[in-house]
Subunit: 541 residues, 2 copies
Amino acid sequence: MKWWGWGEDGSEQPSLPAQGAAMLHDELGLGDRYLPPVPIEQVRLPDPVLPEGVLARLAGIVGEEYVRQDRLARVRHTAGRSYPDLVRLRSGDASAAPDAIVCPGAEAEVADVLTACDSAGVAVVPFGGGTSVVGGVEPLRGGFPALITLDLRRMIRMIDGDRTSLTATFEPGVLGPRAETLLASRGLTLGHFPQSYEFATIGGYVATRSAGQASTGYGRIDELVLGLRCVAPAGVVETKALPASAAGPSLRELLVGSEGTLGVITEATLSVRPLPEERRYEGWSFRSFHEGVEAFRAMEQAEASPDVARLSDEEETRLSMAMASSGSTAERVGKTYLRVRGHEGGCLAIIGFEGDSKEVSRRRSRARGMLRAGGAIQLGERPGRAWLRGRFAGPYLRDALLDRGVFVETLETATTWSHFEELYRAVGGALRESLSGRGTPPLVMCHVSHLYPSGASLYFTFLARQEEGAELEQWQAAKAAASDAIVTHHGTITHHHAIGQDHVPWMAAEVGELGVELLRAAKERLDPRGIMNPGKLLPPA
Amino acid sequence: MKWWGWGEDGSEQPSLPAQGAAMLHDELGLGDRYLPPVPIEQVRLPDPVLPEGVLARLAGIVGEEYVRQDRLARVRHTAGRSYPDLVRLRSGDASAAPDAIVCPGAEAEVADVLTACDSAGVAVVPFGGGTSVVGGVEPLRGGFPALITLDLRRMIRMIDGDRTSLTATFEPGVLGPRAETLLASRGLTLGHFPQSYEFATIGGYVATRSAGQASTGYGRIDELVLGLRCVAPAGVVETKALPASAAGPSLRELLVGSEGTLGVITEATLSVRPLPEERRYEGWSFRSFHEGVEAFRAMEQAEASPDVARLSDEEETRLSMAMASSGSTAERVGKTYLRVRGHEGGCLAIIGFEGDSKEVSRRRSRARGMLRAGGAIQLGERPGRAWLRGRFAGPYLRDALLDRGVFVETLETATTWSHFEELYRAVGGALRESLSGRGTPPLVMCHVSHLYPSGASLYFTFLARQEEGAELEQWQAAKAAASDAIVTHHGTITHHHAIGQDHVPWMAAEVGELGVELLRAAKERLDPRGIMNPGKLLPPA
């Protein structure tokens, strides 16, 4: 991946569509700044401080070629892909860089590396795809003088793919697309498509309790993990790959979402499905977000939901229309149609079905009936196909916006249906208030993309003019305002981005002081010295 | 409940059907023993040893009338409803009785009771319906001189029932039928029907990670819990009632299944559903268990499962037919029909659908197609209705068998489809070998009753002639043989009965030594002195 942004190294930067760019320019009051990342040679990087003896010991475990200390490797492992990460990297700040990047080839090597680091007092940051947007892979030293990043890119085997039980066992470094390719050769799919899919790993999915765009249908990763192995400084924890058990508390659920703070997930057995025979995606329009949310609730509670169900609010619909605008006749005709039906200024929904053809057809017909009953009108398959094409585009677009001095950030939460409207208003209000108060009034958009019988996720995207010279303070203020609103108004601090570093201040509000103590107790048992991913997940004691 | 068995105090003992009784008599080689429980006056009960000061303090918290030390109350709280429990009780052994039974009326009282017991060094056994079949409510003192049982029977409120989010919040002492009545008044149902339903509580469901007969459709209790409150000696842990979260490890899943060893669950918010418009139950026949298992797997993996799906093996089918036999003409005609179709000696399946009428009809038609394709023939709704009528009868019948000197026990496990046959053979073989080796060859039956895309549960029932004077040794040997087979052949030591006392020796095989350490770490943080339900769940340190 590019060291300063999203996409493969050397790949072309996607540009903003002209009409959308002009609109943003006007509405955010942008200047004509062009702010590319500094060249890699100008990145400020401290000298590595790992003692020679430790370095030699690590090289002895994984092989000399798999311990890297070169500039590019160190810069690449300095940050994840959050907004503050990119702000720092683009400005040339890699002052937090790890002292070395160590790439183990097997579980036994992971164990030996942890033992070596534990005895030498070296902090360890497990690293999959490095796509965290919450500071999950930041090299925070937590009081240790040295730090390595443990990159799992060599552990990319599918250990087992079982068509009888519909399960597959992976090593942690398998990237999303590789997992799908390996599974597809056996007629299987995991169906897990977070926006980071192209660069995220199986281990990362599990360690961060991830959800994908099709999780309404395929299930969140925590619903798909049957068993796993986790190597900690204190030893290996293995939870059996079983469909269900009543053998006490679920240790699997203690390791899923542990974000590298308890140990390194070295194996995960996941539920998989037959490759879908058919995929049908289509667009619908609601007159209002409120109307759409009610229709989605009715559909979900009747067990009639599609596999992908997304509903943009009025502002997200307006902006994404502008970004996708071609100015064609067909588009003008479409807009007229929506106006005539009272849907001008309405909300776009994307509905997708995957599976056996007959079932797709049956489920689709049922869901369509419920959408119509809920006030929606159909827009055909074109918006569905467009969404599928662009489903991983967000992070690329962000780089283009950063070039122009746009503060662009996303955050997400979930709550019960009863608290949905309250939370929606509170978070949007907090963001607008915080950023307007700083003289950079934002555009705030929201969509629903994961449905549950008891509630749904809310995913906010907001844009504002960057405060020159105070980019991080601006971000911090907006993030704090939104997070305070979330925990006050019955939301979870994160529905699928994890805690990382950025959400730590709200962890006690999320699980309570004694809840935090319980997590600490687990950490002390598995990682007594505290070398594993310091500063993440848990508030300082 | 009767102090010595199942059913309401004073209710009539159900008798064994004559034909079934005769068959058991012959096949198990029973004598003519009749072994009723001893009268309550003859039960051996030690004097309570709770210091006066503690007693007064407890009475001050909950009220004098809610601290009981009378014979009946103490005997009733001496045991759950496992086979060894009943053997001991019926013989008049209540030597383990608690020193007092304390019934708090609210969460604050629970907290105060725990504080009092913690400071006085008194062990506490949380008690819901007392229906544990694995020794979960045994008054084990764990080195403490005194012990109270904390009976939650007064905490029976539905705190909230939310039709918008389809959630309901209960206090822990609400019995299964009361929960359904409270929910039904709002048009809702929990749909959780373990065999112990009539006497089990919401708190017990959650504390033991229970599954019900309709859990294939409605979901296990761990899938239904959104949030809970748990009072521990160290304070209160609350997990928010949310549809989903990625805020680190799931503490909810650490408390669900904690079996009173971490604290007392004082509130649980559960997903509920609209009351079903329609219920359709019917019987089907497969030529063999193997054929039926394959058909069930295909149905489940195609997402075509009914809400209740049960498949008896050949032996269970034969015995339940004999037990239900009326000798009528209709029955003889039915048997001829099965023989002609090659299903004589086959396997009975019960399939049940609940919900919206249109959906029941649609789902039923799809499942029926798959059952037929899998080789089944339909037996109509009569067997379905008969099963529904008798679904909670098992434990009553057990009392009648104990009267006649029958060793009758159940145990259950789950595994992936790939290991199903291996586990089925191994457990059945272990039971037959163990009991035949003692001169009491058993009848061993099995059914599948919970389906998952990756596997299924196996529920074994076995009967043998009791070894007079060595009833507990006989049980211990059979239990150990079966449990060893389970953990060796890829099963979980329990799919829905929990660990309690009886499964503790297999806990390390289930979760590993380090897994046990993790559970201990949680216990030490919430219950530093170790007063909560000693001897359960965790192996001795």
